[in-house]
Structure formats: structure tokens, C-alpha cells
Amino acid sequence: MNLTMFSPQLLLALGGTLLLLYEAFGRENKRTLQPVCTILVLLAAGVLLWLSDGQVGLLFSGMVIFDRFFIFFATLVLLGSVLAVAVAAGSLAEQRAYHGEFYALVLFSVLGMLLLISAANLVIVFLGMEIMSIPLYIMAALRRSSSRSVEAGAKYFLMGAFASGFLLYGIALVYGATGSLRLEEIAAAWADGAGLSFVGISGMLLILIGLAFKIAAVPFHMWEPDAYEGAPTAVTAFFAAGPKVAAFAVLLRLIIWTFSISDPIIWRFVWMLAVLSMTVGNFLAITQSSVKRMLAYSGIAHAGYALIGLVIGGQAAVGLIGFYLLGYFIAAVGAFAVISALEGKQEESLSFDNCAGQGKTNPALALALALFMVSLAGIPPVAGFVAKFYIFEQAIQHGFIWLVIIAAVNSIVSVYYYLRAPVYCFMKIPESETPPAPVSLGLIFTLVFAAVALVVIGVCPELFIKLADSSAMWFL
């Protein structure tokens, strides 16, 4: 067994523990050093990940897997976390939500995500899910003095714990039907029809329901708008980046690799989730007056678009969804970063009316917001367009015409609410003078990185599509 393949996870666990001790016993410069250390640990984990590129293997007697799939999705998670932490460094203190534990929690949560992506055993799926989620509940309630934040934490916790109940019962039933917790053996039992009993199928559906909660697919999405709106905005940026990507990764591993998608029951279930998420997410987003809440509903709609990749199925789905998530999470983190700056010290979340006049007082931020919204809406030439186009094109090639028609109509509807924020920024005359937003170094880094990345991916997507496709080469 080669421990270097597990070193990113080990480094994150160690880093999180040390940061927690530093918070307890450290004296000076905590507020500057903590975010810097967190970002360094995340980057170092990324470097360790790529150092082992090219190797594949099962570790800890088949508990954890190391393969190209893991490298790709773990990179997405680490990248998203770095961007979110950079935003948090400035904005948490500004919003009176500064607690040093936040940074340790980020590292623990990312550790859970990495475990989840690298799981080769249902025990690790459950464990990774919980290590990822428990810090997230605390983070949502980070602004302890605010009823909104605490309420967001409680709602997120209740739905999250409920979902893990479903996941766990599903795991128990699948174990009963197949006699193994190892994904490899479950896949084999599934392929020769041994797992296809009533117990096996209901177990699999329960696992899918548990995961659908985590990616916030309709009708299991109720927690997402509340958790996103109530949590401090920098935390919301982290929610949009990490957990969604990790949950999609484990969904891919389970559905494509373990339970084959060709199974008609799963196929119909995923189809229904995709259509419902797109439609309900989009139409509820239209009615929102808070930009943050609108983005939460748009996140549900985007989960729906990404699920189209899963409906297509096969190895191609991995590249499609990987590339789609890459385009989505960069734009979402960027948008939440702008919102956190525009909110400033304000307790309530940013409403469209607050946006009025920002084009004049904060032109750079308003322009960045416009770019991210354009990408989320899927308008060329940025990443969001290419990602959507790629997924729709593949769906048509595989004959899912109806699905693409529904998705395209939804896409057109979504342009209305995405462009509302920039329109308010640049064209609406504010009732009162808006103050200039506080801008920190981390915020500038995140915005510049996200904007450049979206344009680069939009202009030359081949390289990134190839990278995403290569992640389908997993160890089997």
C-alpha cells in the first residue's frame, strides 16, 4: 500500500487539527495567519494530489480508491474552497461573523469531501458524507448572534440528518441484497442480477434520495434556499463550491460505476429529478427579491441541468458533469463573492433594490457580477454557455430530444432573472446613495481568478473538456 496516494486527506486532517489548536492557544495575528494557512494547506493538498497522478490503486483493504476521477473532482473541490476561503478572510469580520474555528471547519469539511470522492466502500460513503456535512451545519450558523444564521443552521442540520437517515437505511438494504459493502462487489452482484431483488432496488432508491438531498434536487431541495440565504455570504460561497461537487462525484461513482444507469427504475427516477429540478428551481428563482436566494434556486436548476448528464449515462456522463460543474461553481463562487462585498455590514441578505446604483459606486464589482450572471445564464462566450451547449448537444445525440427542449426553455426563462441584477446595478436610479463596498485582497483574488477562468474556459474549452473526460478513466 502506498500512503502517498492518501496524503492529501492526511494533510487536511493534520492541518485542520493544528488550526484548531492555533485558534485555542494562538495569540497574535490570528486573523491574517489563519486564512493564509488554510489556503496553503488546501494548495499543498492539491499539489500532493497531482504528484501521484498516473497511479491507481485501492487503499486500506479496498476502502479508498485513488484514480483519475478522484484527482479531477478533488481538484475542483480544493479550488472552490481556496476561492471561498479567500473571500471569507475579509468578509466574515466585516459581517461580524468572525470565528477562528471557521478555517478548521473548512479543512475538516474538505477532508470529508475528498473521502467521499475517493470512496470505494459504502462505509466510506457514509463516513465521508457526515465528515463533510457536520462542519457545514456549524458554518451555516456561524453568525451566532443572528436569528437568521442560527435558523439556517438548524434547518440545514434537520434536513441533512434526515437525508443521512435515508442514505444509511439504503446502504443497509443494499448490503442485505448483495452481501457486501464494497462498491466493486456490489457492482458485480448488480451486473449478474443477484442484487435486483425488492430489497436491493429499494435500498438503491433510498441511497439516491439521500444523495438527492445533498445535491438539492427537487423535491428534496427545501433546505437549500434557507441555508444559502441565512448563512454568512462567504460561507454560502463555500456551500456552492464544495459540497455540491463532492455529492455529484459520489452520485456518479454510485450510479455509473456501481448501479448501472440502464436499470429502468433508476433511469426514470433520475429523469424525473432532472426535469423537476430545472423547472421548479427556475420558476421559483423568478419570484425572489433577494439576490442570494435567487442564486440558491438557480443552484437547484443547475443541479437539474447537470443531472441530464446522468440521464445520458455511461462513461461520457463523467466528463459532461465534471465540465458542467467546473463552469457552474466558478461562476457561483464569484457571484457570492460580489454579493458579500455589496452587502458590506448589512445584516439582511442583498436584495435587488440594494443593487440599484452599484454600477456607479462600485463599477468593478457590478461588472464582475454581470459577467458571473452571464455565465450562469449560459450566454456566450463564457464558460457557462460552453458547458450547457456541450451537455445539450450530447443529449440530442443520444436521442433525449424532449429533455433538451425542456432544458432549453428553462434556460431561456432563466436569462430574465439572471440579468435582473446587472440591470438593476447599471440602469436603476437608487433611492439613496450607496456606500462604496469594502474590498479585501482575498476578494480581489477570487474575483480576478473567477473572471479570467470563466473567459478562458469559454474561449478555449477543448483543453478542459479533455481534462474532464480523462477523469472517466477510473480504476476498475
Binding site: F126, I134, E151, A154, A161, G165, Y169, G179, P225
Partner: protein, 100 residues
């Protein structure tokens, strides 16, 4: 000997009770207890399947689930306390600032 199906029936009933409890209960603490019931239903199912398959692996999984459930309960209860301090109630219907 008690057959497997009896254990599974009990576990399914427990899981159903837990699910219904989460859905209809209005008290945060009761909801928390219902979630624990769901996890324990899964534990019972795992243990009985493990006996049936004569496989010790799942027994270890059950211990891991105990630990996770304890961690989850710790965070859940502290959130309940935070809610109680803000609102002086643990009724979920009072969690109504965020909606729409």
C-alpha cells in the same frame, strides 16, 4: 431461532416511525430523537443482515455509525440551544424568518 424477516420488519417499522416523526413533529428535540430512531433502524437492519451473511464487516460499520450519530447529536443539540437562546422556543414553526 428468530428468522431474518422478523428483524427486518421491526427495523422497517422503526424507520417508518422515525420518518413520520421527523415529518409531523413540531418540536426540535423530538425531531432529533426521530432522526436517531432512523439511524438505529438502519443499525438493526445492518446487524441482522451481517448475521445472515455471516460477515463481521458490517458489525464494525455499526460501531462507526454510533460514533457518527453521537457527533451529529452533539452538533444538533448545540444548534437547538442556539435557537432557544435567540427565540426562547424549540418549536420549528417559529423558524420562519427565512422563507419564499
Amino acid at each position: 431461532m428468530i428468522p431474518l424477516s422478523h428483524y427486518l420488519l421491526v427495523s422497517a417499522v422503526l424507520f417508518g416511525l422515525g420518518t413520520v416523526g421527523v415529518l409531523i413533529s413540531r418540536n426540535l428535540i423530538t425531531i432529533l430523537m426521530s432522526v436517531e430512531l432512523m439511524l438505529n433502524a438502519a443499525n438493526l437492519a445492518l446487524i441482522s443482515f451481517a448475521r445472515w451473511h455471516a460477515d463481521p464487516g458490517a458489525h464494525v460499520f455499526v460501531f462507526i455509525i454510533f460514533v457518527v450519530a453521537a457527533a451529529e447529536a452533539a452538533v444538533g443539540l448545540s444548534l437547538v440551544i442556539a435557537i432557544f437562546r435567540r427565540k426562547n422556543t424549540v418549536d420549528v414553526d417559529e423558524l420562519n424568518i427565512l422563507k419564499g
